[in-house]
Symmetry: C2
Subunit: 199 residues, 2 copies
DNA sequence: CCTTTTGCTTGACACTATGTCAATTGACAT
DNA sequence: ATGTCAATTGACATAGTGTCAAGCAAAAGG
């Protein structure tokens, strides 16, 4: 399965990432990936049984390369709830650009491929747990805004941090990544941290 | 063009809306639409040259039925900036469920169909003008939060009101439409209206 | 009443992309 | 030499969009 680390398999995964990360990446086809990996289209199926599986495995491989778990350490070790929220938002915000291409490809398959949809949902669900932990840390410190109960705040934070919002602000509105990070940090702080407790 | 109001054309448009609005609507095909309209698949092409064109025309037809312009009157006639923002957010929030199906179908074609993407972008751009007007009304009244310059606030409001956020909160998080409206109204007010000027 | 036009039907086909299969090749190991 | 493994090639199935030509039936118009 995903423990098969043959030469070619890695080459395919790398080729997939490169194509998905290309800015103009519209509908990456199996034949495109094969060409880039330097093998025949059919040979892809010797390693991945469907396009969806290939994309899913690619997300795992990308996590491995990016050491994505390490990014969350500052958030988990934060002392106060406010620090935790800030660290989490920053870590996630800077992670998005690296998984955006794959996310888009997987989301585009939602309608046609159940497995792809599930795989992506799973990741987003994991991310939501991070949101929940940050909100709970605020609640524990009694610094959570009284406007929203924790579960509600979690949903809202999750939505604010969605990849699609990142896409809209950076790609459609032309914001720089810095501007995005700065704004989303400010917005989440002002929305979820009780007034007067911001610092 | 869109002024051809033949019997069959209308039947096709209605069939398309019905299929797109169905909750389980996964990838509506030309043959599905034809069947529902009671004509042959090929006959669709006598009225609409491509699937993208059909979907685009369907959005126009849907606007006509929903009298979507009228929805914005309360927002345009609001006296204060705060009222205008509130009226606009409410009008748009309640409009989303009616165009969600078509939006999803058009967005799914982004990668493969340039025309579909453009048509949808145009609508979203129009909607952004409403955001801009609301923010400008706040700025004029000096009730805009000093945290964001107007252009910046416009982008942010636009993102907050995006259909994808609505989708995430209602469909994925299970919020009721009421809860969504209430929350988004509260969020936008607290974000964009200068503190102390909320009422 | 006959002819033309209009709107639709039917069947066939091109194209693109995914996925499958069988036969084959070339390298490397025993 | 023989077998095994990874990949190749060409052919084919399937799904969906879009095109084309031939035909048909009913309305329109002389």
């Amino acid at each position: 399965m995903s423990s098969d680390n043959s030469e070619t398999r890695i080459r395919i995964l790398k080729a997939t990432i490169e194509l998905l990360e290309a800015p103009q990446s519209k509908g990456v086809r199996m034949s495109d990936i094969a060409k880039r990996a330097g093998i025949s289209r059919q040979a892809l199926y010797l390693h991945f049984s469907t396009r969806a599986e290939l994309l899913i495995e690619t997300t795992f491989y990308s996590d491995e390369i990016n050491k994505s778990d390490e990014r969350l350490i500052p958030s988990r070790t934060a002392k106060t709830g406010v620090e935790r929220l800030e660290a989490y938002v920053e870590a996630w915000a800077n992670y998005i650009p690296e998984i955006y291409g794959m996310g888009k490809a997987l989301m585009a398959m939602r309608d046609t491929d159940e497995a792809a949809a599930k795989a992506w949902d799973q990741r987003m669900w994991d991310m939501k747990e991070g949101c929940e932990a940050a909100i709970n840390a605020l609640a524990r410190d009694k610094t959570l805004s009284p406007l929203y109960p924790p579960a509600h705040a979690t949903d809202l934070l999750w939505a604010m941090l969605s990849i699609r919002n990142w896409e809209q602000m950076t790609i459609e509105c032309g914001w720089s990544q810095e501007k995005y990070v700065k704004t989303i940090k400010s917005l989440t702080k002002h929305t979820f941290v009780r007034e007067g407790k911001t610092e």
